[in-house]
Symmetry: C3
Subunit: 146 residues, 3 copies
């Protein structure tokens, strides 16, 4: 395990409220890029009108897609915001969604459209977190020492 | 998407430990009201002896109730604390519960009774967050600019 | 409900990145012990190659074990870090895991092996949180006043 302390000064909290029809991954990535947000974690609740989740296949090194059709509650959306190792920003979110009967479906957040709201609180440090491509997994993993 | 920075100074962390028989939504709302807690997010783990969850029906503009009978683990309770737009405080929580076999049930937290404990960490900003009634959804949504 | 404010000064954020084959509960407990981490909450996402979850049986006062076989996404790992009341540190984590088809399984985190990564953000206060043994439940519960 690699660990690093992210803050010298106090963390900064931001609230992001998504509106109906907005896509979450692109919206959150654009906001982080425009505001040059340092290493952050986030949690949020709300609802999606449609979503595509992912399960990472380690052999094929790509995500199997899990379509979520119809309106679901976002029971929890959790993840982090980092640099992507290529000069840009990367949002890594996982989500558990709830259906009308309380049953759940979840995965890596590939794409989701909000309706009627998504309330996200981002807690940002004062240090950027960098990712590096990892050949063994095919993923860009966080390197706390970078 | 509307965004706002919630903190000028450092966030404040509070720990809340619920006891057997206590109801979560009323307990947390009462605590926020008495302490005039600013805009906050929270996460928590523990267990419920009974709960009523909700799935929001956008057409009828009300929650379908999902009864959760019997003891469940609280796998994650996540949400936010804001003003309710009417002079009071509003707790918005979503929860994923786990049964003895590991299966899950989740929804918007309408009501839940703790047993034996619920450990909640609230991270409070130094700014109040306000809600405004939204006619399209029938819900009071967070307005970060308010 | 018992409540306490955990912070006089700003919270401190730490990022922990687990590597393939590492066990989470022991790794996180060892890190907290070595660094004498004060009362903290954490959330994280990633994936496990195997895990043993728990459901607490209040009558028998022990955990029923829920084996999770095969690779799962960690949809959310949430919990807290405290003192254990006996001079050491205690990690209390609950997790929701997601399978290839999006179905979920969750419980109290007894043991889990990471693959390929687990990204955890720990938000630490500047006060230690203490647990005390509770005869009614058989568990060591957080005492915010301790």
């Amino acid at each position: 395990m690699k660990a690093a302390t992210l803050t010298d000064g106090p963390p900064v909290q931001h609230v992001l409220v998504f509106e109906p029809g907005e896509e979450v991954v692109s919206g959150l990535t654009d906001w982080a890029t425009e505001n040059q947000i340092p290493g952050s974690s986030f949690t949020g609740v709300g609802a999606f009108t449609e979503a595509t989740l992912g399960y990472y296949d380690l052999d094929r090194q790509e995500y199997d897609e899990i379509p979520v059709d119809g309106q679901v509650e976002v029971l929890v959306l959790a993840g982090d915001i980092t640099l992507d190792g290529q000069g840009g920003w990367k949002v890594h979110g996982h989500v558990v969604c709830g259906r009308r009967d309380g049953s759940t479906v979840g995965g890596h957040l590939l794409r989701a459209v909000v309706r009627p709201t998504l309330e996200l609180v981002v807690t940002a440090s004062d240090r950027h977190l960098q990712r590096r491509q990892d050949a063994a997994s095919g993923l860009a993993l966080i390197d706390p020492a970078a």
